[in-house]
């Protein structure tokens, strides 16, 4: 099949992994179709992706170029094969935890593909067919709020939004201004209350810390239980005890599903549907476009199923290429469902950060 036929395969079909990868490499590394960024970068790779990258494992040959996305002109990220009128949906930026933000470009065809998949996910999880959505989380340059907007629009709903600036929160905390971060977070909850009180919102999308904070207010808990059919959480880790308490005590009648995503993969993945007694959150990927490897922190080799390791994310689509991006997340490696390249992940959490030096002086 021709390169573009494979890359543009119908939304309801899944291309074969190796065939897809070869086509993607041809596309991104041919002078006529590749992006200026990757064509230039290919000169220093030391291998020719068109020849040398044929399997999923070969994606690990790429260096992690995520940091270079802090400086690249966004025009240089768009594959030339789209011509001068590439349909740019938006430019999105990472949170900015570790320096200046990284930038990615979302093109129309990727959005269509992602939304088709998302629609299937929502269907399978029984999200309400109609009604409005409230995004209590980052908007601005971040893809979080935009994903919610697209999802709501797909289902004929309105996305209400309360904007959180995660960079400001991180800065407050880094500067030891926990009280300021606290005030800001309460301000966000105040604003969400106005929407929950007055609008017919059926789906709430937010982060675990904000959901926990919202649960401090009994009146809001009652409103959520009365109005909201499903809660999607993402953008941060949710520990299993919090999830258990939310499902059993705080929001017992509300569907609760996690999303694991990143700006660097241009999307998010819905939590695997499991029986309610299963005390584990698994994320399958959107293979062959978004895929994961779970690797040993020291050796970089893939860990065994059931073991924990660091998450490596790959995005390979017609519109964008970012393979072998080592994320600051730990996860348990889980066997993928049939047909999925790479790993599924469970119990995703942040890399442990070193605590302060043990305090020695004193008797306590």
């Amino acid at each position: 099949m021709a390169t573009e036929q494979i890359l543009d395969c119908p939304l309801d079909q899944v291309p074969e992994g190796p065939e897809f990868l070869e086509a993607a490499m041809r596309w991104h590394f041919s002078p006529e179709t590749g992006s200026p960024y990757w064509l230039e970068r290919a000169k220093t790779l030391g291998f020719d992706p068109r020849e040398d990258v044929r399997t999923f494992d070969d994606l690990r040959r790429f260096p992690n170029v995520a940091n270079e996305l802090r400086d690249v002109r966004v025009e240089d990220l768009i594959p030339r094969g789209y011509g001068p009128d590439a349909d740019v949906v938006g430019v999105f930026e990472s949170g900015g935890t570790t320096g200046p933000p990284k930038r990615v470009v979302v093109l129309r065809d990727w959005l269509e593909r992602l939304m088709h998949r998302t629609e299937q996910d929502l269907q399978a999880r029984g999200y309400p067919e109609s009604g409005h959505w409230l995004s209590l989380g980052p908007t601005g340059p971040h893809v979080f709020g935009e994903l919610v907007r697209w999802q709501a629009a797909r289902r004929g709903g309105i996305r209400f939004t309360v904007d959180m600036d995660p960079r400001w929160v991180k800065r407050c905390i880094a500067e030891g201004r926990a009280d300021e971060a606290e005030r800001y977070a309460e301000h966000l909850i105040d604003q969400s209350a106005y929407i929950l009180e007055t609008q017919d919102v059926r789906v709430l999308v937010t982060t675990p810390p904000l959901l926990t904070r919202l649960a401090r207010r009994n009146a809001l808990v009652d409103l959520v239980n009365a109005k909201i059919a499903a809660i999607s959480w993402g953008g941060a880790h949710m520990d299993p005890d919090t999830r258990y308490l939310l499902r059993t005590e705080v929001f017992p009648g509300v569907k609760l599903y996690g999303t694991y995503g990143s700006t660097m993969i241009l999307g998010g993945l819905a939590e695997r549907v499991t029986s309610p007694d299963e005390d584990i959150v698994v994320f399958d990927t959107f293979s062959p476009y978004i895929t994961f490897s779970v690797v040993d922190q020291e050796t970089g080799g893939v860990v065994r199923y059931g073991d924990r390791g660091q998450v490596v994310m790959h995005h390979v689509s017609k519109s964008f290429l970012l393979p072998n991006n080592l994320e600051r997340d730990l996860a348990t490696r889980v066997a993928p469902p049939p047909g999925q390249m790479g790993d599924s992940v469970a119990d995703v959490g942040p890399l442990p950060t070193f605590d302060n030096e043990p305090v020695i002086e004193g008797v306590y």
Partner: protein, 456 residues
């Protein structure tokens, strides 16, 4: 391998066995227990439940405390008899078994006395109940400043868990965040309190990781936090928080007769394995401190190195790595002081992965030497020269100051100084804590206030 003890969180609707747990190991690194750690959501819901809960009537609180004290000190709690509990605490914390035994008895006794002890703090001009006939003409009624009291506890000595019992006696609902070093004591005590009449929504145990710890304080009305200088710096300006900071207890020795006080000095340094805030960490000697330091060192050097569960143990034991870290800290901070004992190191390895922290004695050459403020969790004492011309400045910032002096004018100044919290006179060891004598003021002064009531 023996089965691990499960230390559940004790929430407002019962024990909670969490998915996130921390393994508690004894001195050799062998796991002995798993402590359930609760997330922020659990903390905030529990604190809200405490706020909703009613307190027991005063008489019931007093009786329940007494029952709980007996159960804690002598009974079987959570399937663990008292002797076994004491053995575990000794093997986990490294505290000599005799110290743990007397602490156990002390907690039992203090629980029984807790209600009566709170009476000491009540102003003479106040009554307990607005129904008291005195309020007819207008009077003060002693009332709580809040409803919910939080404690960030320490694990250095089980006795830290006697103080908050007074808050319970005064009708506060209490949340304790245990030290992850030694969670057995608060778990046992709170379990005993619940079996003796307190409701699950009246006293709770909330083990959390560091990130969530502040939530417990935020959601309480008042809090007490154990820690070092950093805790004082963090909470010193928060009127809702009572920091229990460094003790830096001291002895001032004037006059030529030091021989007859030698026992008091040695005991003040080494009681409780030297792990308490009331242990002496600096001795100021009028005249030449060298002979006193030598004599104290000689006595301390004679203490044997024993595993903590040995009836003859006096010194604390730590895992070797922890003990070495404390040793390194000490040796890094000698800074020109003259070693009298322990200058080459203080760790005596027992061969099973644990090490005894042996006593250390140093001399400094001036009373304002910064080393006199160093407080470590084993018998470690700094001797400094002192003369009347130095005044009370070197003696300040002290939990307990024992002053062996005949100079009443000096005593006046020590008693008046707000940074010296207790002044013991004569041959009195710094570690004495008899009931009725405040520890760091009466806790009731912090927990209560007077309110005017007039009935017409």
């Amino acid at each position: 391998m023996e089965e691990l003890i499960l230390l559940d969180a004790l929430g407002a609707s019962g024990p909670y066995h969490s998915r996130s747990r921390q393994t508690i190991t004894e001195l050799t690194g062998t796991p002995v227990a798993e402590l359930s750690l609760v997330p922020r959501l659990f903390v905030q819901r529990t604190m809200a439940a405490l706020r909703e809960a009613r307190a027991l009537p005063p008489g019931d609180r007093s009786a329940a405390l007494a029952r709980a004290g007996r159960l804690f000190a002598t009974g079987t709690v959570n399937g663990i008899p008292a002797e076994e509990y004491q053995h575990i605490v000794s093997r986990v914390s490294g505290m000599p078994i005799t110290v743990v035994r007397s602490a156990t008895a002390g907690i039992g006794r203090r629980a029984g006395e807790a209600y009566r002890t709170t009476r000491h703090a009540r102003p003479q001009g106040a009554v307990d109940d607005w129904r008291d006939p005195l309020t007819c003409d207008g009077h003060a009624v002693w009332t709580r400043r809040g409803d919910v009291f939080a404690v960030h506890a320490a694990g250095n000595h089980p006795g830290v868990h006697t103080l908050w019992l007074e808050a319970l006696a005064l009708g506060y609902r209490v949340a304790v965040r245990p030290s992850r070093r030694e969670p057995f004591t608060p778990h046992r005590l709170i379990t005993a309190l619940r079996e003796s009449g307190f409701g699950e929504d009246q006293v709770v145990l909330l083990p959390t990781d560091y990130a969530v710890a502040d939530d417990i304080i935020r959601d309480a009305d008042l809090a007490m936090v154990y820690g070092g200088e950093e805790v004082v710096n963090k909470y010193g300006n928060d009127v809702r928080v009572l920091p229990q900071g460094p003790g830096r207890s001291k002895i001032l020795l004037t006059g030529g007769d030091w021989e007859s006080h030698l026992g008091t000095i040695v005991d003040s340094v080494s009681a409780f394995g030297g792990t308490a805030c009331v242990n002496t960490t600096a001795v100021f000697v009028e005249g030449d401190p060298a002979p006193v330091a030598d004599a104290v060192a000689e006595r301390l050097a004679a203490i044997p190195s024993l595993p903590p569960e040995d009836d003859g143990a006096v010194l604390p034991v730590q895992p070797v790595a922890d003990a070495r870290a404390i040793e390194k800290y000490l040796l890094d901070h000698v800074d020109g002081a003259t070693p009298v004992l322990g200058g080459d190191g203080v760790v005596d390895e027992l061969g099973d992965g644990s090490g005894v922290l042996r006593p250390a004695v140093f001399r400094v050459d001036r009373p304002d030497a910064p080393q006199t403020g160093i407080e470590l969790s084993f018998p470690c004492v700094w001797f400094a020269p002192w003369s009347r011309a130095d005044g009370i400045e070197p003696l300040r910032n002290t939990l307990v100051l024992t002053a062996i002096t005949k100079d009443d004018g000096l005593v006046d100044r020590l008693v008046e100084d707000p940074s010296i919290r207790n002044v013991y006179l004569g041959d009195t060891p710094t570690y004495l804590m008899p009931p009725g004598v405040p520890h760091d003021a009466y806790l009731g002064e912090f927990l209560m206030r007077t309110k005017g009531v007039i009935r017409t």
